[in-house]
Each structure stands twice: as C-alpha cells, then as structure tokens.
C-alpha cells in the first residue's frame, strides 16, 4: 500500500485539475451547471479533507517526537480503518492494546465438542513420533528396547547429532513396539501406559536465582525442550540459540477448535510458572495473546498472567494463529529466531518447575459431524487415536484428522496423536459425483465467496465433506488470498516465487513469517484448488537448507 503521506501528495494535483476544469467551463460558458457545482462541492470537500489530514499527520509526527507513540495507539483524529470496521473494543480489553484484524473468515461447522470431559474414554497406548520433530534425523539413537519398563519422563531416544535434547515418554509403562517406516526410519515408539503413572523426578532450581544455563539444562534433561517450537521454519530450537521473543496464543480460531480456556481451567499456577521460566530464557519478552472477539472475557488463568506482555486480538480466523499474532506484535526479521508454545506445552513446562515431573497430560477435543458425541477427553501426549474414538463414530465412510480440518493431518485409526495435537476431527468423505455441483449445489457448503448466499446465514453450521468441489487450475483469481489474510503478505506472489525457486523474493515477501496453518484458510478458499500449504512447506525447507 501507498502510505498515508504519499497519498496526500496527489491531492493538490487533483484539486488543481478540478479548479482548472471549473474555470474552463466558465470561460466557454458551455457544460452543465449542475456538473460544475458538483465539482466545486467535491473540490471543497477535498480541500477540507486535505487540511484535516495534513494537520492530523503533523499531530502524529509530534506524538512520535514526544515519545508517546510507543504503545501503537492511534494518535489521530481520523480513526483507522481497522478501528471503524473491527467493531467496538470489549470493556474487559480496555487496558492493553487491541489488534483488530478485519480480514479473515470463520468456518462454522457442525460438531463442536461439548464442554465436559468424558472420563470413560481412556487411551491405552501412547507414542512418541520422531517425525514430529523437524530437523531430527529419521533414525534417532534408541535408548530403550521393546519390553523395557519406562517411567513417565524417561528418555526414549535422542538425536545422533545433538544428544542434549531428550525425547521422553509421556507415560510410564512397557515399551510395546517400535514402528518403522520407509528406509527403516522410526515412525512411532509405542509405550503401553500404566494405570497409575510413575514419574522421573528432577531437582528444580529456584527460578529467581537460577542462571539461564541451569534452567535450560533442566528443560533439556526433562524432555520439556521438545515442547518448544522455533520460528521461522517450525523446528525444534537449538539449545545454543537465545530467542528474540516468545509467543503464546491463548485462543484458537480454526474450525471446531477446542476452547483453550476450558483446557487451561485450574492450571493458573502452572501457566504463571511457565511464563516465569520462559521470561528468563528470552532476550526479549514473553508475549501472550488474548481473545477479544467474545462478549465474555477469557478466563483469569490467561488474563491474570504477570511478567509477560498481554495483547488482545479481535478478528476472525486466522486471528488465533500465533504466526498472525507475531506479525502484528513484533515481526520476525533478519536472522532473529522466536519461540512459540501451545497452551498445553506451557502448562507442562510450568508443572515441571512446580513438581519436578514431566506431566504431559492432555485434554483432547473430539469434534466434527461424524462423532456421535463430540466431547473432550483427558489423556496424555501421543495417545492412540483408535482408543479415543472407539464406539463414537457414526456409520459411513469418514475421515479422521489429527488436528483441525484446515491444517490437521489425515490419520488411520491405528495412528497416534502428534505431540502438540489437542483435537481429533472426523468428517464425512466426499467421493461422490454431484450433478451440476459447481452451479447449483444441493448441500450447503462453507465458502468465502459471495456467490453463495452464506453471508446471509452467518451462524449456520455447515457439515462439509472432503470433496474438492472442483479441479486444480493455474492461478486465475487475484487478491483472493490477500482478502482473507490478516498479514501484510502477498501470498499468491510468494507462492509463485516458491514455485520459481526465487530465494530472494521468497525471503523478501515474508516466507519466514509464515507457517502452514497461516495459509491454510487461503488454501481452503482457493478457486484454483492449489495446495498452498504443501508449496509453502517446500519453500520453507528450501530456505532452511540454504541456511
């Protein structure tokens, strides 16, 4: 976009032309009188607007000079577009800066989880997947063998290149199986969980007095290091790198996403402890983003966090994505690395420093139209999916997804949850022909397009299937991704740059600010059915290999 100042430079020119037009019309005596008056009125409005905006700009410059423009408040008499369109700020969010994101799209689906924990559903086996950790060699060094008894928090394997990071068992029990995939790579290390878990206990240093090295050492040895995620590229961070900032999103806007406030209930102490630890690990700040889209304030577990910077975000999906939030709080730039954590990971980290134990308890939401009873279940990291969904699925062909419908992974029922998953979605498969489906769809379907009357039924819950609703085409439409992307990134051009292996452009257009989940909504909306997440990941891997 042209910035404000540049736009005003054109104004005098426009006025000049309009004045010239008026005088010429008068001198010849021809032309419609009404048209002349209209032009005069427009010119007058423009002049007033110009005076207003120039003085407004001067005020902003002054505010910057005085140093009072630090909180990104709007020092202007003219409200920003986002303020006009973003709706009113909720009263509970008045104290901290509110980011109103006008772009985005909420996909309402049938099958959100009931706010209760079904205690009857229990997983028996749990797995740690080396494939979850990007950058880990496909065949890590195993520290246990099939048949070994392990405690919760006991290392199962380690990286051959950097053995400081330990990958630990989420539960205690017997190592049941080591599954291998292509080229003998290890895909799952499966532990048959005990009924009552026994934990490896660590000595916890006092956070206030401990050095960063001591904290890092405990996190590495306890296995909690694997909870950290480094951006760009979404990799496990190196223990040697100090992150510029740490970001945690306390809400998830993706379709049918679990309510993180519900999951965090009663874990206020662990969350606070986790934040305390993290703030000693970064050279910058711990940034917590809070949801300002609802009438009710987020729970006190989040709003009461101290020692971190709180940011309110109001907007539709993907406003809850941490990548979008980073873009608006402190964008990743240059060689800076930042860390991100999920709320569950933060709780586990806090628990470690409270009790000395690696407690990887997880509350998983079973969501989607194919579940008889969409609900929350309490289990541990890496739980077996078949155990969790047994007896709960409706008849018919359905697709099981670890995660949400936009960025989750399709899994077989014999599979295990990934280490940060907090949701299983089941939706019907859509492998059926549909007569004139592109023209007169019989079944309502979610869409961002205005050619469907969906905008009239804002709260309708859709029941979509996995049909592609069309075939893959070259990029034809423009501005489509950008209209639902609340980041200043030209997504389509970035995708083209990736396809053309243009490293300079990829970096310049902001590939390092993105992760697959951030472009998932664009991929959903894409008229040409392009696989944006796949393209983006290829680009990210290319960049990562380049260093």
């Amino acid at each position: 976009m042209i910035n404000r100042q540049n736009r005003y430079r054109i104004l005098p020119l426009v006025i000049l032309v309009l004045v010239a037009e008026i005088t010429s019309a008068q001198s010849t005596g021809s032309g419609s009188q009404i048209a002349t008056y209209i032009i005069a009125a427009v010119a007058l409005i423009l002049v007033v607007f110009a005076i207003l905006s120039i003085s407004d700009n001067l005020m902003q410059v002054e505010a910057k000079k005085l140093g009072s423009d630090t909180t990104k408040n709007n020092f202007s008499i003219i409200p920003k577009f986002s303020e006009l369109l973003g709706g009113p700020t909720p009263a509970y969010a008045a104290d901290q800066p509110v980011h109103k994101l006008t772009k985005g799209h909420d996909i309402n689906l049938v099958g959100s989880a009931n706010k209760e924990i079904n205690t009857e559903i229990k997983a028996k086996t749990f797995a740690v997947k080396p494939t979850n950790f990007r950058g880990l060699s496909p065949i890590p060094r195993m520290l246990v063998a099939v048949g070994d008894e392990v405690k919760a928090g006991q290392p199962l394997f380690e990286d051959k290149k950097d053995n400081r990071v330990k990958y630990v068992s989420p539960v205690s029990g017997e190592v049941a199986e080591i599954r291998r995939g292509a080229k003998r790579s290890i895909t799952d290390v499966i532990v048959l969980g005990d009924r009552d878990l026994s934990y490896v206990t660590h000595d916890v240093p006092a956070i206030e007095t401990a050095t960063r090295e001591q904290l890092v050492e405990l996190i590495l040895n306890s296995g909690a290091w694997t909870l950290l995620n480094e951006r760009p590229y979404d990799v496990l961070p190196s223990p040697d790198v100090i992150p510029a900032n740490i970001f945690i999103s306390t809400f998830d806007t993706s379709p049918l996403a679990p309510d993180l406030g519900f999951i965090a209930k009663g874990n206020g102490a662990a969350i606070q402890k986790g934040v305390d630890v993290l703030s000693k690990l970064t050279s910058g700040d711990v940034h917590i983003s809070l949801d300002a889209s609802h009438a009710v304030a987020p729970p006190v577990e989040f709003t009461g966090i101290e020692g971190a910077k709180l940011h309110w975000f109001k907007g539709k999906h993907p406003a809850g994505n941490v990548g979008v939030q980073i873009h608006h709080i402190a964008p990743i730039s240059g060689t800076n690395k930042v860390w991100t954590l999920t709320v569950e990971s933060l709780i586990t980290l806090g628990e470690l420093f409270l009790s000395g134990k690696f407690k990887a308890d997880r509350i998983i939401a079973l969501t989607g139209s194919e579940f008889e009873n969409p609900t929350y279940v309490k289990t541990h990291q890496g739980a077996n999916i078949a155990d969790l969904i047994a007896g709960n699925l409706k008849e018919g062909k359905s697709r099981i997804i670890a995660g949400d419908v936009l960025s989750g992974k399709q899994v077989s029922s014999d599979d295990f949850l990934n280490h940060t998953d907090n949701q299983i979605t089941a939706i019907p498969e859509g492998d059926d022909y549909e007569l004139f489906g592109w023209l007169f769809p019989v079944i309502p379907r979610p869409s961002v397009s205005k050619t469907y009357p969906n905008f009239l039924f804002k709260n309708h819950e859709f029941e979509p299937n996995t049909n592609t609703h069309g075939e893959r085409r070259a990029f034809v439409m423009t501005g489509q991704y950008e209209s639902i992307m609340p980041m200043d990134i030209h997504v389509q051009q970035l995708m083209k740059a990736i396809m053309a292996n243009d490293y300079e452009r990829m970096e310049g257009l902001g590939i390092t600010e993105l992760s697959e989940e951030d472009v998932a909504l664009c991929e959903f909306a894409c008229t040409s059915k392009q696989p944006l997440q796949k393209i983006l990941r290829e680009g990210l891997e290319m960049m990562r290999e380049q260093g």
Binding site: G437, N467, E471, H490, R505, T527, Q533
Partner: protein, 418 residues
C-alpha cells in the same frame, strides 16, 4: 446412474492416438461440466470452498447475458431503422429479434467452435483437462464484434488469439494479454479496411449508403413461412437504405465534428439506452452497468479497477475539455461514458483477473491508467476513434511491472525492519 457409468467407462479407457486423446478430453470436459468430480482432498486442507473456476467463469457469463440479449435485438433494430421501417424500438419485434439471432448465431458458433476446438486440442496434447477460460472469452469475443464481421476473419482472429495469446503462454491463467481483445485487435489491424469505417455497424447491407438494398437468405425465408402462418409481418427483400441515414457510430461523429454532430443524429437518451449502431454488446449502458454491479457484488470483478478506470477517464476527459484543441476534445467528459465501448471495456475487459494487476495498489494504478490512456487514444488517435482495446492491452503488458513495484515496496518494508 447410467450416464455416470458411461462417462466413467470412458475416463478409465486409455487413449493412445491423438484423435482418441482429443475425444477423451472433450468427453471429460462435458463430464466435469455435468457432474462435479468425486475427487477428495489430500495432503493439505481437508475441506475445500465450494468455489471453483467453473463457477467463477459462469458468474461472468450471467453478467453478460443481458448485454447479449439486447445486442441481438439491436442488430435487427439497426437493420430496419436503416431502411426506415419499424422506427419505434419495439415495433416489428419478431423481425428484429430473428434477424439479430440469424446474425449473431454464426458469430457465436464460429467463435466457440474455433476457440473451444483449439482449447481441447491443446488440453489433450498437454494431457490435462480443458480449462474454463474460454467460457468467458467466447461470449466476450461475440459481443465486441461488429454485427457484419466476415466469419472467416473471425475464425482467423479467434485462432490467433487463443493460440498465440493464450496457449503459447501455457493456457488459462498464464496469458499476458486479454484473449478477447487480442481477437478484436487482430481483426482491426489485419483487415482495417473491412472492419472500420461506417459500413460494418449496421448489418445486412453491402455498404451503408442511400439506395443500397438488402437481400435475405434461406434462414430468413424459413422464418417467413412461420410468420406467414402466424399472420405476422414477413422479411421482404429489396428494402433500401433511406436517404439521410448514416451508419456512423456516435464516436465517428464526435471525432469529425464534436458533440453537436453527435446530438444532431442521436439523442443522449438514445445513446444511454443503446439503440445505436456499434459493436454488438457495447451499446446499452444500463445493462452493462447492471452486469458490472453484479460482478462487483458477487466479488468476481475488482471494484478497484473499475473505480480507478472511471477516475482516470474522467480526469483525462476534463483535461482535454480544458485544452479543447479539436472538436472531439470539447465533448464533455461525462458524455464519454455514453458513446463507444468505454463502459463495456471497463466492466468486462479491464477486470480480467489474469491480465490485470494482481495487488490492490496495483489494481488502482492499472485501472486509473486504463481510463487515462483510453481517453487519450480515443480522442487524439486520428485513425480510429476508440481507445479501450489498445489501452487495456497496453496496460496488460505493464501490469506485471506495476505489481513488481508493489512487491518491491513490500520487500523493502520487510528488509527495513530487519
């Protein structure tokens, strides 16, 4: 589900020879047109938006229908007005409509046979399905042709536009220039004597001069039989162009002697409602505006380009009004919308997403420049008093450059942060 089985059987057959491949591609195109494919998502998102390229293109086709209907009727209307018969717009309705249909159908069919034929051939060669681009290019080409365009010229032009303009670049979505306008510009530059001047805009006459008579063909006589049964007026050969009738478009008149010359022949209301000679689809302004609004409301056409183009055209119109060196320059800027193809070009040609600028800022600049340059060419070009096809093709060429600078500024901003 007999039909699906039939299609699936062909889908599963392996085509080895080129004709078989072309046949299979054609059948596949029909199949996906009738039935949404049963393909499911894999690897990325698990649900997909109900929007696809077929639906997108179909929106434009809907938006063009009113123009197409009016244009068809107007061919007949101009034809009879030239002979001084049925002067009222709805007098002789059936004759005007049938004459229009008889004139427009061959244009429509030739355009689609040639265009779709080439598309299917290339799709079969490349081994992918037929892309939907020509669903829109076809009707657009029909609508921007003069009613009496020789069909062989049309066929050559369409072939040129589709092969050189689109397939050479890789098909739908890859082309640099607007395909429909390329066809038009090819005809204009390859056969200038046949296509320009005052004779092509009114159908059914060799030249539009007083005393020239019209001869109806066998298609008209078939309908004559029908009309005879129903007791309606019939087509009568031998009707002559009346004295004082001019086939000149308002643009040609304005180019010669300014706005007074235009208004001495056509009233502003007549130009607004569209009962004037011109390219088939360009004459009726309210219907074009309806189509334009439809596309904007449905989110298909970019309102930024449209608004930008109007701003550019108005600004240039005012500037030239102020200069006023030639009679054409003194035509009031707000009347430029009334004459020629300005509205049609801005609504349906400039907004082609493939050839337009892709960024929001770029769209403003692109639209503005089209309006600005379009009026310059229209007024200053002595040879041909219309500028939109040239202005749009010119900006098509530069749209990538405009975007380039938008991207550069985005990249600079990001680098400055580091």
């Amino acid at each position: 589900m007999g039909l699906i089985d039939f299609f699936e059987k062909i889908e599963h057959k392996e085509a080895k020879t080129t004709p078989a491949k072309i046949g299979k591609t054609a059948v596949d195109a029909v199949f996906t047109f009738l039935y949404s494919p049963k393909s499911t998502t894999s690897g990325g998102v698990h649900i997909r938006d109900g929007m696809d390229l077929k639906r997108t293109m179909f929106q434009v086709m809907i938006a063009l229908q009113l123009c197409l209907a009016f244009g068809t009727y107007n061919i007949g209307h101009q034809h009879f007005v030239a002979m001084g018969q049925y002067m009222g717009f709805i007098e002789g309705f059936h004759l005007k409509l049938i004459h229009g249909v008889i004139k427009i159908l061959p244009i429509f069919l030739v355009t689609h046979l040639v265009g779709l034929g080439i598309e299917i051939f290339f799709a079969a060669k490349k081994g992918h399905s037929v892309e939907e681009g020509f669903l829109v290019s076809g009707p657009l080409i029909t609508l921007i042709m003069p009613p009496d365009v020789p069909l062989w010229m049309l066929a050559v032009a369409v072939a040129f536009a589709v092969i050189i303009g689109k397939e050479a670049f890789g098909g739908t979505g890859m082309n640099i220039w607007n395909v429909a306008l390329l066809a038009r510009v090819f005809i204009f530059f390859a056969y200038p004597t046949t296509i320009s001047g005052d004779n092509v805009w009114v159908s059914g006459f060799e030249t539009v001069a007083a005393g020239v008579t019209t001869e109806y063909g066998w298609m008209h006589s078939i309908f004559n039989v029908l009309f005879g049964w129903m007791g309606l007026d019939e087509f009568v050969s031998g009707g002559a162009v009346v004295n004082g009738f001019t086939g000149a478009t308002p643009l040609a008149l304005a180019n010669q002697d300014g706005w007074e010359a235009v208004t001495s022949v056509y009233s502003p209301a007549q130009m607004w409602w569209g009962a004037i000679p011109g390219s088939i689809g360009e004459t009726c302004k309210p219907l074009i505006i309806l189509g334009m609004l439809f596309l904007i409301v449905r989110g298909i056409a970019s309102w930024r380009i449209i608004v930008g183009a109007f701003l550019g055209a108005f600004l240039m119109g005012m500037l030239l009004n102020a200069w006023g060196a030639t009679p054409f320059m003194t035509v009031p800027w707000y009347y430029h919308m009334w004459i020629g193809s300005m509205l049609f070009a801005i609504a349906f040609m400039a907004t082609d997403p493939v050839t337009a600028a892709s960024t929001n800022t770029g769209k403003w600049i692109y639209g503005f420049m089209i309006g600005f340059i379009g009026i310059i060419i229209r007024i200053v070009n002595p040879a041909y008093p219309e500028g939109w096809m040239l202005a749009i093709l010119f900006l098509n060429t530069f749209s990538a450059l405009i975007d380039h600078y938008v991207f550069e500024s985005n990249m600079k901003k990001r680098l400055a942060r580091a």
